[in-house]
Amino acid sequence: MSYAAIRDRLARQQTVVLDGAIGTEILRRQVTWADHQLANRPEVVRSIHEDYIRAGADVISTNSFQLCRRALYNHFRDDAHRRHIGARDLDERAEKLLAASVRLAIEARERAAAGRPVAVAAAVTTLEWCFRPDLAPAADQARREYREIFQVMKDSGADLVLLETVNSIGEARVALEVAKSLGLPAWISFVCDEKGLLFTGETLAAAAAALEPLGVDAILLNCAPPDDITAGMKALAPHARVPIGAYPHIGRFDPPEWMFTDEYPPARYCEVAAQWKQMGARILGGCCGTTPEHIAALCTLP
């Protein structure tokens, strides 16, 4: 388990650097993100992981955001319809691609880490759309689905789970319980609004209170603009007893792609990250729109 080294660093109050965006980085490299490109362009995915490792990331996340059985099945009325007109591999596709996502991250580590401890985080988001808590499935159903996803990621060699862009305490709790039951370290990262609240209106104080007794290894904030992350850090830091962290997005969501802006070049990005560090953040990284250059800049923070 490569997580031990990360756990030690966090215990010693050292900063752990998480990688930056994968999906938007695929786009920035002029490859379509209509698919995760795990099967079609694995070399692109692997090279992004390698670039983040060389930039200095201690934890790299798999290219598996939103990748799950449900995401594929949601495009059909039901099982009968899917079997009738759907591609023949759909029942196994999510599992195969999830395993491939871990394999590519591990391969990148073998090629680029040069003996430095780098952990591979299984990046998983909410089962339904990350910005839409209203669509979340019931807890029992969610539990079954998270178990399937995490089991594949664990069997494939992931060192921890990074549950990201989570929009409710309820779904975070279910996923965390599943990760812990499988013996996986788990970081839970919430998306927050400009007031520092979850998209359900729940507080980060309540989130910390709910997740810490269940053994969450870190609580983070992600996929919001830097100012919103700052609001979230203010709301979270005074209440959290576990390590906390942040990785904002920069630029603008231009569905189905991303609009890159020059608002946060690496140096400025680093300045705001330094503020979060001062507020207590021990894990820093980047979400949509960030690049290996941003991560390299974070690694220069004193």
């Binding site: 995401a71 009968a80 603008r252």
Partner: protein
């Protein structure tokens, strides 16, 4: 140009639609964003032109599953969209609709077919075409379809084609919206594996309701060719106006993330153009008066249909 199409239908002719836009653009390697309308305009126009060269009587706009909801749905709410979304997303869908009509119109002008080929403005379910359970309530559907129908009317499309409609309620709302803006309306339903509407309502009832509501043509689409054949065999018994169909070929291969509409079809080689035309032969036997191609088909399929129609005298080549 609708008069021309209408006259040919009245005289017993067969109208040939074009084939797929989205799945063909994806197959050609177009990066799927905003339907390619902004970033790959030349390739979209090129495809329209190829359908004209293949002999299509109707060009459909590249607007399937393009409406304001596809943008709004991926945000928490409108405020969140303004907060983190790209500028202009709120008004983007109508603008893209205008662009799509302009591109079809340019292709038609390029081919010198302004007088014979009609442009159909494509409306489709406001939510995912394969998810009848997500269909909006009728009043919202009416309002939102009318907003887009009005844009099509302003851009002077020749008629509206409601494509892959999956519930009767939304089809009725969209049909009323189209009629309200003064455009002729054709309605096409996506079939479920049972052979009825994907939303499980009976096809017979749907055809009757659409005819009552003023639909000029009722069609079935986005199901495998044999399913279309079976449905047309039934429509023959209860349709009182011209009817038709256009099948998808191959298998729908959705994206591995929660992308609303990504028209990727695999295994399309199972239905090469000649086989597709042979199946369409049976559609003509069932009395179909409008045929064409849905997802997975390309210009070669439309050319094969045109050749077949020519041989059988059913579709006097374009006047």
């Amino acid at each position: 140009m609708y008069d021309n199409i209408q006259a040919r239908l009245q005289k017993g002719g067969t109208i040939l639609l074009d084939g797929a836009l989205g799945s063909e653009l994806v197959r050609r390697g177009v990066r799927w964003r905003k339907h390619g309308l902004l970033t790959d305009a030349d390739r979209v126009k090129q495809l329209h032109e190829e359908y004209l060269a293949a002999g299509a009587d109707v060009l459909r706009t590249n607007t399937f599953q393009l409406n304001p909801r596809i943008f709004l749905n991926v945000f928490r709410n409108r405020q969140h969209m303004r907060h983190i979304g790209a500028p202009g997303l709120e008004d983007l869908a109508p603008q893209l609709v205008r662009t799509s009509v302009a591109q079809a119109r340019q292709a038609r002008a390029q081919a010198g077919l302004e007088k014979t080929v009609a442009i159909a403005g494509v409306l489709s379910p406001l939510e995912h075409c394969f998810r009848p359970d997500l269909a909006p309530p009728p009043d919202a559907a009416r309002r939102e379809h009318e907003e887009l129908a009005r844009v099509f009317a302003e851009e002077k499309v020749d008629f509206l084609l409601l494509e892959s409609m999956n519930t009767l309620a939304e089809a009725k709302a969209a049909l009323a919206a189209g009629r309200a803006v003064g455009l002729p309306v054709w309605v096409s339903f996506v079939l479920g594996p049972e052979g009825e509407l994907l939303g499980r309502e009976p096809l017979e009832k749907a055809v009757a309701e659409m005819e009552k509501g003023g639909a000029e043509v009722v069609l079935v689409n986005c199901a495998p060719p044999e399913d279309i054949t079976r449905a047309l065999g039934r429509m023959k018994k209860f349709a009182t106006r011209p009817f038709g169909g256009f099948a998808h070929i191959g298998r729908f291969s959705p994206p591995s993330w929660k992308f609303d509409f990504f028209p990727q079809f695999t295994d399309t080689e199972e239905w090469p153009p000649d086989r597709y035309a042979r199946e369409a032969d049976r559609w003509r036997e069932q009395g179909a008066r409008v045929v064409g191609g849905c997802c997975g088909t390309g210009p070669a399929h439309i050319a094969a249909l045109r050749a077949w129609l020519g041989k059988n005298g059913a579709g006097s080549p374009r006047p």
